[in-house]
């Protein structure tokens, strides 16, 4: 316990000897600080300061804030309805999850009951968003190992889902389609048809093709097995969330534990792995894709008739709610507070990627430099979500 508090999260930067160009020859005596990030092929808009001793990583310190938009503040300037455009921009990969969480929180405060059709629609969209996000996660995980085929194959499958979203809401990524009080558009038969087609493609073409090459790949296993191992107790202590937590053997899934939307009526499994290494996290992401496809099929089968949207009041009575949703990257918490006005008084977004990010310093101690991108990608983070 002490070790984390003092070494993992807190760096006493006693070895801040940076190497200038002239003394590169004296590499053996000093630590080399690499800036793994911001302008780097695999990092995204963040920076990891990596201190390396030869090929071995001594310590890592994340530097974030490059995509800070202060969404929590922006929401305070919006009305209850149009705050969704800020909430969905927490991460562009899976925006349905955040919108659903916000909407449920707002409905809880206002005491609005959502029609059943909207619940089912939310479920379908959330799972669609999860699939879209997980596909990119899979692709980028293999991508950091130097193979871009997986990403391309995943993007082909992703495209079908984006088409379905476009047909439903009119936009591919920033859909703004779930609002407090239901969903914004009538789910038409065309949308259902397109979604079914996308899932058919995913199950019949993508899964077999991908599973054969990139799940049971000997070189991939060689690189990722036993890398970045987090045991069960440690995962809880580090506060990991989402697929990395489940890969360490902790059965934690908000969809199962505190069912929201229509998840209580559908049958699905919580995917867990016991190993807790990078390969296990990769496998969890892949297995969850299958579960999501299953959920969407069930939701489409049991799609009820009726209204898709109820009226949401302009002014919401004072109150507060804490709502968790199982987002693609883990448990996303919304602490929403109303003061009786036309918009939220305060919204706190508890982001899963933020929690995952701060497990990096502890996980990356004493590994090889080549494992830095592997662990980074296996934690499956989104930068918009870290900075908000």
């Amino acid at each position: 316990m002490d070790s984390i508090a003092q070494a993992g999260f807190t760096f006493v930067l006693e070895e801040k000897k940076e190497i200038s160009g002239e003394d590169l020859g004296l590499l053996q005596e000093k630590l080399l600080q690499l800036n793994w990030g911001v302008q780097h092929p695999a990092s995204g808009p963040m920076r990891l300061k990596v201190w390396v001793d030869g090929d071995e990583v001594v310590k890592v310190d994340p530097d974030i804030g490059y995509v800070l938009r202060l969404l929590e503040k922006l929401v305070e300037y919006r009305t209850w309805i149009n705050a969704i455009v800020n909430v969905e921009r927490a991460c562009f990969m899976d925006n349905f999850g955040t919108m659903t969480g916000y909407s449920i929180a707002a409905e809880k405060i206002a005491g609005v009951e959502v029609p059943k059709k909207a619940d089912y629609m939310r479920t379908i969209l959330c799972e669609g968003g999860r699939i879209v996000s997980h596909l990119v996660g899979l692709g980028s995980f293999v991508g950091v190992l130097g193979v871009h085929t997986a990403m391309q194959w995943a993007l082909i499958a992703r495209e079908k889902f984006l088409d379905a979203f476009e047909l439903y809401s009119g936009q591919r990524i920033a859909t703004a389609s779930i609002i407090p009080g239901g969903v914004r558009f009538e789910p038409t038969g065309k949308f259902i048809e397109k979604m079914t087609k996308a899932i058919d493609f995913l199950e019949k073409e993508f899964f077999p093709r991908y599973e054969e090459v990139f799940l049971d790949n000997p070189t991939l296993k060689l690189r990722t097995k036993g890398v970045g191992v987090v045991p069960k107790e440690k995962a809880i202590e580090l506060g990991l969330a989402g697929p990395p937590l489940r890969a360490s053997g902790v059965t934690s899934d908000i969809r199962k534990d505190y069912p929201y939307a229509a998840y209580g009526e559908l049958d699905f499994n919580v995917v867990t792995r016991e190993e807790g290494d990078a390969y296990a996290r990769y496998c969890v992401i892949f297995e969850e894709l299958k579960e999501s496809a299953k959920i969407i099929r069930q939701a489409i089968e049991g799609f009820p008739e009726g209204e898709y949207r109820t009226k949401f009041p302009v002014k919401v009575p004072p109150g507060e709610a804490y709502v968790n949703v199982e987002w693609a990257r883990g448990c996303f918490g919304f602490h929403l507070i109303s003061d009786g006005g036309t918009g939220p008084y305060r919204l706190k977004m508890g982001a899963p990627s933020f929690a995952n990010l701060w497990a990096i310093p502890e996980m990356m101690k004493g590994i090889k430099l080549a494992d830095v991108p592997v662990i980074f990608a296996s934690l499956y983070m989104c930068h918009g979500d870290i900075d908000r």
Binding site: L145, T149, T219, L220
Partner: protein, 314 residues
């Protein structure tokens, strides 16, 4: 054609340029096929001129030398590297008549040139005075040295089998029997080639996600092009060597020798590209273990086997 004309045009400079362009194009197209994409499409018919356009783009770019870099070495290294690999290609017979030089120590010289590449790439990394380049340079030395031992040993097996170092003689002596006998040596040679020229899955020195672009990080524009070109030509030369030693060189029915030679090389390239599309990169320590614990002993065993065969048949 005189040797000078040859060096300039056919198996020489212009031909190498053409090969460079085509290899890039084919690599893109095949990778795109494996990705289920289209690949280059707009520039020229079937996107054939795409690489040429890229080359012209690179030529237009500014000649940037980092402030702290060793200016002389930094600007000299790409040309030295290119010269070295061009010499390597000079010894490869594309057909019974089209080669630039032919001596009785062809194979020895070619391998010696391959062996002298690591310091050049290391200097390229060191002279840029960048952390990423430096790590890339260290890695390239590490990797190439461990890859060259199996490369030498497997090439030596062929030399022992044929009893000569002259490429032309080797090609003329080759047959189906020699192909079968030398098959293990061929496989070792190809693996070692991938390691030496750091192609995926052994592209550890250039691992984008770790050290940006290895020793190539600081190079840009024309310098970058020449350096990449020399790496590509090195692979081409080594594949030429593989075809000459193990696959019967320019021998083949009906079609002229040069076509057969290029076809064989194309098949090897196909293999390389598909490997690139399917195999994740491995780690440095794993590579070293693989080289020293598996590949080198295998190559030694293979050499012993070839000597044994030679003793039986001689």
């Amino acid at each position: 054609m005189g040797p000078w004309l040859k060096a300039l045009i056919f198996p020489g400079f212009l031909f190498l340029m053409l090969v460079f362009l085509m290899v890039f194009y084919v690599e893109r197209k095949i990778l795109a096929d494996a990705h289920l994409r289209t690949g280059p499409y707009y520039v020229g018919r079937w996107g054939l001129l795409q690489t040429l356009a890229d080359v012209f783009k690179l030529l237009q770019k500014e000649f940037i030398i980092q402030r702290r870099a060793n200016k002389l070495l930094f600007s000299l290294i790409p040309f030295v590297a290119f010269l070295m690999v061009a010499i390597l290609v000079a010894f490869i017979p594309f057909s019974s008549s089209s080669f630039i030089v032919s001596t009785s120590f062809d194979l020895l010289i070619a391998l010696a040139i391959v062996t002298s590449m690591p310091p050049i790439f290391f200097y390229a990394g060191w002279a840029s005075k960048s952390k990423y380049s430096f790590i890339g340079g260290l890695r390239v030395v590490n990797q190439m040295i461990s890859g060259e031992i199996p490369l030498w040993l497997s090439a030596l097996a062929a030399a022992v089998f044929y009893g000569t170092l002259n490429h032309i003689e080797i090609v003329q002596d080759s047959s189906w029997l020699s192909f079968i006998v030398l098959l293990p040596a061929f496989l070792i040679f190809i693996t070692a080639t991938l390691i030496v020229t750091d192609r995926p899955p052994f592209d550890i020195p250039e691992a984008e996600q770790e050290v940006v672009y290895g020793f190539l990080t600081e190079f840009g524009g024309f310098n970058y092009m020449i350096l990449v070109l020399s790496k590509l030509i090195e692979l081409f030369g080594l594949y030429g060597l593989a075809v000459t030693l193990f696959l019967g060189g320019f021998k083949g029915p009906i079609l002229p020798g040069i076509v057969w030679f290029l076809l064989k090389i194309f098949a090897l390239y196909m293999f390389t590209f598909v490997v690139r599309a399917s195999t994740p990169r491995i780690r440095m320590d794993q590579l070293l273990k693989f080289c020293w614990k598996a590949l080198t002993p295998l190559a030694l065993l293979n050499l012993a086997f070839i000597i044994f065969i030679k003793m039986i048949f001689a």
